[in-house]
Structures are given as structure tokens and as C-alpha cells.
Assembly symmetry: C2
Homo-oligomer: 339 residues x 2
């Protein structure tokens, strides 16, 4: 029940989500009094589809991940992840402290055997549709082997939720030629080439929004900078556009006339629809919502969780690790079964 | 005389530049026949302000930098850099092969003592003005010491051409807290803190366009990805906006009414005005224009070169190395004099 706005956003969002998706059940984890009060306000009673599960503590947004993990054993975050571990839930959606969610989910759920590090994947819009980018900041010092695993997990995610059997993977670099890039990226390209995966090759920053590949692989530092830079640029352009439409009486009039078009444009680039980063590589589905998500944005994160459960993302990752092992001779894990 | 469009763009651009700036002289370096033909077309004769210097070879856009350096000793690029070395010119502007320009200028001009690696700096627009970002791709494997030098060179550039005595420096990271980031960035932050420079601290990707600091420091891999990602996003948003204004009869009408406003917006975000990346750290001023620059964009790159010469960017970098040495005890070079 975290995030910047807490239960006032997440609970109405969950209730609204269930109105649109009758096949999903949601367990609200947190302080029972707070949850009950919120449900009362909404005139909703808990039932089969919407259950309550108590948790007495809350991880605050600026709490150190290691301290949260050590000291808050009954936090809503920790309890929700325990529900996955015990088989009572199949996914966890949180708008809370990112570092704590990464650390706690890794501790509670463990990684899938063969996966060294979980990675955060987000969907971004492109000229022709959308693409999946990972890692977005879970890992800042990556090896080539890590990048290979990110590519495999990204492809598993896309094939399971988008019904694309063999998604293309691009390796984010600073040039398309094989000689370009830093040492890790060059090694990763070699691993990809002999992996049997649908590896497109090196791509550049502008290929992300061009939609050149279905999956874009990069280390968490680069991915985070690319994402945040995009946010900053979009905000600046929006602010410039607003200023120009307010500059004079005429431009205000033009803005009024163009308003329906500007609004259609705004809906199309509304970043809320892409809310919900998938934390891939764990023995359970974990979705990180933006901390400042509103009700609509948080619903998009819940939908993402439901899609991954239904699409069998977890099983897909497990199967692809095996395929990697047999196809390319990379011994990056033993076959396992995950339910 | 390189770039995607060659002398057909660079020569008219240089001629036009001289009409606007009577205090600068330009030497056109390249095939004399080609240059003379182009000047004839423009009805311009060479003179004191516009001279010709012959070079018999051209480095092609896809030529391997090392081969260009070894085999093309009379290329226009090499000859232009030799003119700086011999004191006949104070700056070189090229729209040619980036890798070859980096390699050749480093070989011909050498780095300023105390500078390990030259870095590419560009100006980007922000909410409140503009900021200087480096490195943009000259260096893909950087140490903390390199990043420190980039910061110093960026600050030297800003103070010399913007008349800002003590520009603020931000270190591009994935969080503002000191514990965030990869090992190199963490070490670099420590070096900056004890350097005596105006170090703002860690900044994130969105701070670039927010204009949080005057200088943004990052390694060339991250900087290149951030820049290219920005280009891709801007193109996508422009294409979305165009599509929305073409969707229906009404939206076409709205587009007509809003055209003056859209055009004002377009002029404001016109990336051509930011053309011209400064290759800093060499014993001479070298400006890399975008290969696809048109006449206006190339003129902006020439203006940048002139501003750096007049502002004394080179001397500023040399002085700042000394200051770094004395203030913070970092022995990164001996004082030298550069003319």
C-alpha cells in the first residue's frame, strides 16, 4: 500500500480494475483498518474477488532497502511477496520504494535457477507500436552474460504477453558496426550471435522509439538514463508547446481550435498507459508501478501483472533458459519447474 | 570538405557565414577545382577573408579511422588539422567521418598535457536555456579520473564562451543519492567533491533538459545513448503530432489555424541551431558538425568555432588543469602554455 499517494490511489484503482476484469482476483495487503475505511468510502465490501490480507508495517519511500528488508518483516510489501511464495498469489503489484521491492522480492522469491540477476523491463511507445526495454536500473554493473540473460527474459516476456513467437532483440550500443561499443557490449553481442536467439544486432538510441526491435537490451545504468532523459525531453517539449500556445491572443485562439487535436496527441503519448515495470527473473511475477501513479496508471500496472500470469511469462523464461543451454552450449543454469 | 553533402553545403555555408561575421577568416581546405567551381557558382572570389588551401584526398564517411589516419596524409581533414598545428589556423570545422576526425586530430594536434582523453561536448536546450553535455561518444570505457577531466573541460568551455565565471557541473547518474550508481561514477563523485570545482552532485537523465546544471558529465557510451534516444523520441513525437493534424478535415483546418504557433515551436526546438560538437582537450579547437548538416546548421558549427577561439577556450582549459592540480592535489598534469 505504498507509493507517493498510498491506499487512496491503489485501492480505488484495484476496485475499478476488477469491474473491467472479472477473471482476476485481488488481495489488498496492508493495514486492515486503513483498507476497510477506504473500501467503505467506495461502498465496496470484500468478497471472493477482492480479499484483505493484514500487514502491520509500511516501507517508506526513502527507507534504505537493506534496512527495510531486515527490520520490516510484516511490511505490506514483504507480506505480499510471501503470498506469492506460499502459492496464495501469483503476482505482486507495488507502487512503493523501488530499491526495497528489488531487495525484498529477490530475498523472498529467489531468482529462477540460471538467472544471475533480476532485471526491470518497461514498455515504451514507438513509431509503429511499442518495444520492451530492459534493464531499467536494477543492475548498474553488468557483465556480457547478464545482458544475454536480459535479452532472453525480454524475449520470453514479449512472446508470452504479445503472442509473438520469436521476438527480435537489439543490443543498445553507440553504433551499428560490430567494432563499436564498450568491452561488455562487444562480448554480449558475441554471446547473442551464438545463442540461437533472434538477435538483430547492435542498435542505437534512436532505434528505441523507431521500434527497430521488439526487445532492447542494455545495462541498468544506460537504460535508466535513457528513460529519464526521455521523460525530461517530453516534459520540456510539452512545456514549450504550452508556452507557444499562450504567447498571444491569436495563439490562444489557435490553441482553442487545435485543442481536440492536441488532446488526441496527448492521449496517444500518455505515459500512464505504459506504467508498470516487470521485474523479471524471479520465481514469481512482480510489477513495479511508478510511485506517483494515479488510479488509471496503477490499473495499467495491475493489468500488466494479470497479462503476465495468463501469458505464462514465468514458464516461458524457464523454458528459454533450457533452450539457451542446449542451443548454444551456455551453461547458465539447470532446468527447473516453476508453478 | 566531407559530410553527407560535401562542398555543396559547406562552401555556401562558409560564404554566408562570412557575410554575418566580418572578423573571421575562413580557409577552405580540399580539392581546388571543386572549391573553385563551387565559388564560381556562388559568384564569390577568394580573398583575404576566404582563402583556399589544396588537399588532394577525401576521407569517406565509412572509412576505418585507423586506415584514414595511416593512408590519407593529404586528406582535407588532415591538412586542415595540420594548418592548426602550424599556426596558420586556430580552429577546424568538419562534417566528415567522426571516428577519423577523432583519431586524426588526436594524432596531429596531441592532447593538452594533463588531459588523458579528448571528449565531445554538445549544447542541448533546456527548460530555462541550454546546457553542455560531454562526453558524447569519443570515449566508451572511462575511468573516474576521465570524468573529472571532462567536467573541468566542460566548465572551461562554458566559462569561456558563455561568460559564466563558475559553471555548475552535474554528474549523470541513476539517482541523486551518493550511494547510487556504478563504481566509476561513485569514484568520480568523490574526485569532484574534493576538486574545488562547482560540483552540484549527482543528477538524473531528466535533469539534462530541466537545465539543473550548466555542465553534464557522463561517459561517451551513456552520453551517446542519451543524445540518440532524445533524437528518436523527438522524431516520434513530431511524427505523432503530424499524424494527428492530418487525421480528419477538421484537424487539417485546426492545423492551418495553429500553423504559426507550430512553426514558432518548431523554430524553438530546431536542432540545427545546436549543431557543432566541440572536441575538447586537444591543442587546438576542433568542431564536429553533424554529417547531414544543411547550410544553416553548418554555419552554427562555424560560429561555435569562432566563439571558442575568441573566448579563449583552449587557454581556459590549460588554466583549469593547473587550478585542479593546486586546489585538490590531483596530479593530473603539468602547467603548459598553449597559443
Amino acid at each position: 500500500m505504498g507509493g507517493d499517494h498510498g491506499p487512496h490511489v491503489t485501492i480505488p484503482s484495484a476496485v475499478e480494475y476488477l469491474r473491467l476484469d472479472r477473471k482476476t482476483n485481488i488481495i489488498l495487503v496492508g493495514n486492515p483498518d486503513v483498507i476497510s475505511r477506504e473500501l467503505d468510502t467506495l461502498k465496496v465490501s470484500p468478497g471472493e474477488q477482492l480479499r484483505l490480507h493484514p500487514a502491520s508495517e509500511v516501507v517508506s519511500m526513502d527507507e534504505h532497502p537493506a534496512l527495510a528488508l531486515r527490520n520490516k518483516k510484516d511490511s505490506s510489501m514483504r507480506v505480499a511477496l510471501d503470498l506469492i511464495k506460499n502459492g496464495e498469489a501469483q503476482a505482486c503489484v507495488s507502487a512503493g520504494n523501488t530499491g526495497a521491492l528489488l531487495a525484498t522480492s529477490r530475498f523472498v522469491l529467489k531468482t529462477i535457477p540460471g538467472i544471475d540477476r533480476p532485471a526491470l523491463a518497461v514498455v515504451l511507445p514507438t513509431m509503429s507500436g511499442h518495444t520492451y526495454v530492459l534493464d531499467l536500473g536494477a543492475n548498474v554493473n553488468c557483465t556480457a552474460e547478464h545482458l544475454l540473460q536480459f535479452g532472453m527474459m525480454g524475449a520470453s516476456l514479449v512472446s508470452s504477453v504479445e503472442n509473438k513467437p520469436n521476438p527480435s532483440i537489439g543490443l543498445l550500443n553507440i553504433g551499428e558496426e560490430e567494432i563499436k561499443g564498450n568491452d561488455v557490449v562487444k562480448q554480449a553481442a558475441e554471446l547473442f550471435r551464438s545463442s540461437g536467439m533472434n538477435f538483430y544486432g547492435n542498435i542505437e538510441g534512436d532505434d528505441i522509439y523507431r521500434g527497430t526491435t521488439n526487445v532492447v537490451v542494455c545495462d541498468g545504468f544506460v537504460g535508466n538514463v535513457a528513460l529519464k532523459t526521455s521523460e525530461g525531453l517530453a516534459q520540456m517539449l510539452a512545456s514549450y508547446l504550452r508556452e507557444e500556445f499562450r504567447r498571444s491572443l491569436f495563439s490562444r485562439f489557435a490553441g482553442l481550435v487545435a485543442l481536440p487535436v492536441i488532446n488526441a496527441f496527448r492521449r496517444r503519448v500518455d505515459h500512464r498507459q505504459y506504467n508498470g515495470a516487470s521485474l523479471l527473473g524471479l520465481r514469481g511475477i512482480v510489477i513495479k508501478s511508478h510511485g506517483s501513479a494515479d488510479s488509471y496508471a496503477f490499473r495499467c500496472a495491475i493489468r500488466r501483472a494479470a497479462e503476465e500470469v495468463r501469458g505464462g511469462t514465468l514458464r516461458n523464461i524457464v523454458e528459454h533458459i533450457e533452450a539457451l543451454r542446449y542451443n548454444a552450449g551456455h551453461n547458465i543454469g539447470q532446468p527447473v519447474s516453476v508453478e
